[in-house]
Amino acid sequence: MGNTLMTSPAGLDLIDGISRHLNEPEWACTFRREAWRRFMETPIPSPKHEHWRRTDISHLNLDSLAPSVPGSSPALPAWLEDVIRGRSRRIGGTLAFSDGAPVYNHIADSVRRSGVLFADWAEAIQRHPDAIRRALEGADYDPADEKLTAMARAYATGGAVLIVPRGVKVTLPLRTFFTVDGARAVFPHTLVILEEGSRVTLLDGMLSPDLSTPVFGSGVADLILGEGAELTYVLFQQWGRGMEYFHHQRAVLGRDSHLTTITVALGASVSKATIESVLCSPGAVSDMLGVVFGDGDQHFDHHTVQMHMVGNTTSDLLFKVALDERSYSAYSGLIRIDLGAQRANAYQRNENLVLSRHAHAETLPNLEIEANDVRCTHGATVAPVDPEQIFYLMSRGLAPRDAKRLIVEGFLQPVLDRISAKSLRDMVSEKVDQKIASRRL
């Protein structure tokens, strides 16, 4: 694509260059510089750290990685155009980014007219600087992920911003797609702000073909739900092999708001994500769902956090993992209920279906509960396919491979069924089924 890539260590000049290119106000540039300082000052996580015990990145030379120089102008890759146009019916808007630059946008008139802002970073920061500033200033750095999230915040060039005004209910789902097309590193950033009583569904897609040279990615998603807001957020990860991708998603839930997050992880060689819901006002409800399907040598590491800071809040979680061949998945989930967060309800369930003798699943629930009047349950299973199910299906004529495929699809389906927007559900289900069908099983 004719990008010039940075090969030397990035400096403040690069940070300022990105900020200038995006025409950012000074506070945004200051914010970037601060992120960059934290990135430089924080050591690369050690595999001795609990959070990094299962995914060792100490070999990565992060200082040598930087975004594509702003000003390069990538085009929309043809395959991505097919993805976008393949299922464009009943979609309210789509933004696409390649190598960190916006390459496509289309927003339905009905969505535009309702006052929704759905735009790339440069446009959004011109139109809604105050809202974005408030959101960024409220963004915390999780100490365990600080190195990589600071890197993402410093280097994010493209990035999508969605702001839904008070009371607006967007019926058609929105989509963003991030891809790489020659860059060595990618830093997706998604910021979603739902004002009071608004409602929207967003699919955040991270995808590419298989990559002939390794690519590094670090992404951040900030989700902010105002009072009574309802957000369905689908993180759809189907990076090609060759990608090592790290993601930190943090949702802050206001009073009586309702968040549903659906994490779908199919791709990348290595992917590690922290998915966090912070329930900081009464009445907030967080439903976290996840689907992972691994094959080959894929490595997945998901960490979820259900953080109850106040009482009368509810969180539920269901993470389903199916693993074939030599793939690996670690799931660790923290339920934290602060002192004084009485009458909080928190549930967590992780199920692993292991399809091959060489695949391996780990599950690590963790509860930190300081309040005494709470309801909290958690459970986890790791099991192979039930031979009685195979026998039953085969007795109806299904070949062993088809029987297994049906069982895996069925295992994952209840999570996919929770994507209420049919156009998105069909797209995601199709991708999942395609990956299952491509296996010999």
Binding site: Q389, L393, M394, S395, G397, D402, E409, P414
Partner: protein
């Protein structure tokens, strides 16, 4: 006489190394209804599972021919494609897989060609209606959260969609109330054509009032020890199994003395 549909010769089967079937002989022709009766543990369900090819059941001796073909060399799905159907005593749940999706996949595997979506929907609807089940079951996950009776009815819905050459009903009557037994039986009679072979496995005579067998066999200790017509079932109903056990015991004793 024409070639039998199913021929079981001197079948010996072990589970985890323990012999369960000890020389079963049974022949079923097209259009015949056979009842296999016996107490718990006599080996009836072992025979059913073995005919379908459950991997836990090890055939140590004997042979099974279906339309002249050696069934024991066939995989489970090949047996299904050959026309053998087993209505399970304990059907398993397949979470996340709808009844409609499951049956579509099954029919595609069995017959190769695909039915049109509409034809399929209508056929399934008709089967549900016949079994007095709401259509809504089509979109429910297979057997998940079904009552015992609903599971048994769904087995017969499947039989109706699949239309096998040989239907083995493994205690389909257990878990059904009187109406359930009648509805299920009427449907088995409807689905079974004059070419279908049916093997009804049961403890009780109840279901045989509706599905009237041409032959009744009694299994004891892993072997068929008595065969007769419908009247044998009535006799069992009246007198229980003990008299057969005694007779068989006496015969074995005589055999041993002679041998």
């Amino acid at each position: 006489m024409s070639q039998p549909l199913l021929e079981i010769r001197d079948l010996h089967v072990a589970v985890d190394g323990k012999p369960i079937l000890k020389g079963v002989n049974l022949t079923i022709h097209r259009g015949e209804i056979h009842a296999l009766m016996g107490r718990n543990g006599s080996g009836k369900s072992t025979l059913a599972a073995t005919l379908m090819g459950h991997p836990r059941y090890e055939v140590t001796r004997g042979e099974v021919l279906f339309e002249g073909q050696n069934v024991l060399e066939m995989e489970v799905d090949e047996r299904a494609r050959a026309g053998i159907f087993l209505a399970f005593q304990y059907p398993v749940a397949i979470p996340g897989v709808s009844v409609a999706n499951f049956l579509r996949s099954a029919l595609k595997s069995l017959h190769g060609e695909e039915m049109s979506a509409r034809e399929f929907r209508n056929a399934l609807k008709a089967e549900f209606k016949a079994l007095h089940m709401p259509d809504g079951f089509a979109s429910r996950y297979v057997n998940e959260g079904f009552s015992g009776g609903e599971k048994k009815r769904l087995e017969i819905v499947q039989m109706g969609m699949i239309k096998p050459k040989l239907a083995i009903l493994d205690e389909t009557d257990s878990g059904l109330d009187i109406d359930g037994v009648r509805i299920v039986s009427e449907n088995v009679n409807r689905i079974a054509s004059e070419d279908t072979g049916v093997l009804v496995i049961t403890h009780y005579q109840r279901i045989l009032r509706y599905i009237r067998p041409h032959f009744v066999h009694v299994m004891v200790g892993g072997r068929v020890v008595r065969s007769g017509d419908e009247s044998l079932a009535h006799e069992l109903e009246q007198r229980g199994y003990d008299w057969i056990l005694q007779e068989v015991g006496a015969e074995e004793k005589t055999l041993q003395e002679v041998g």
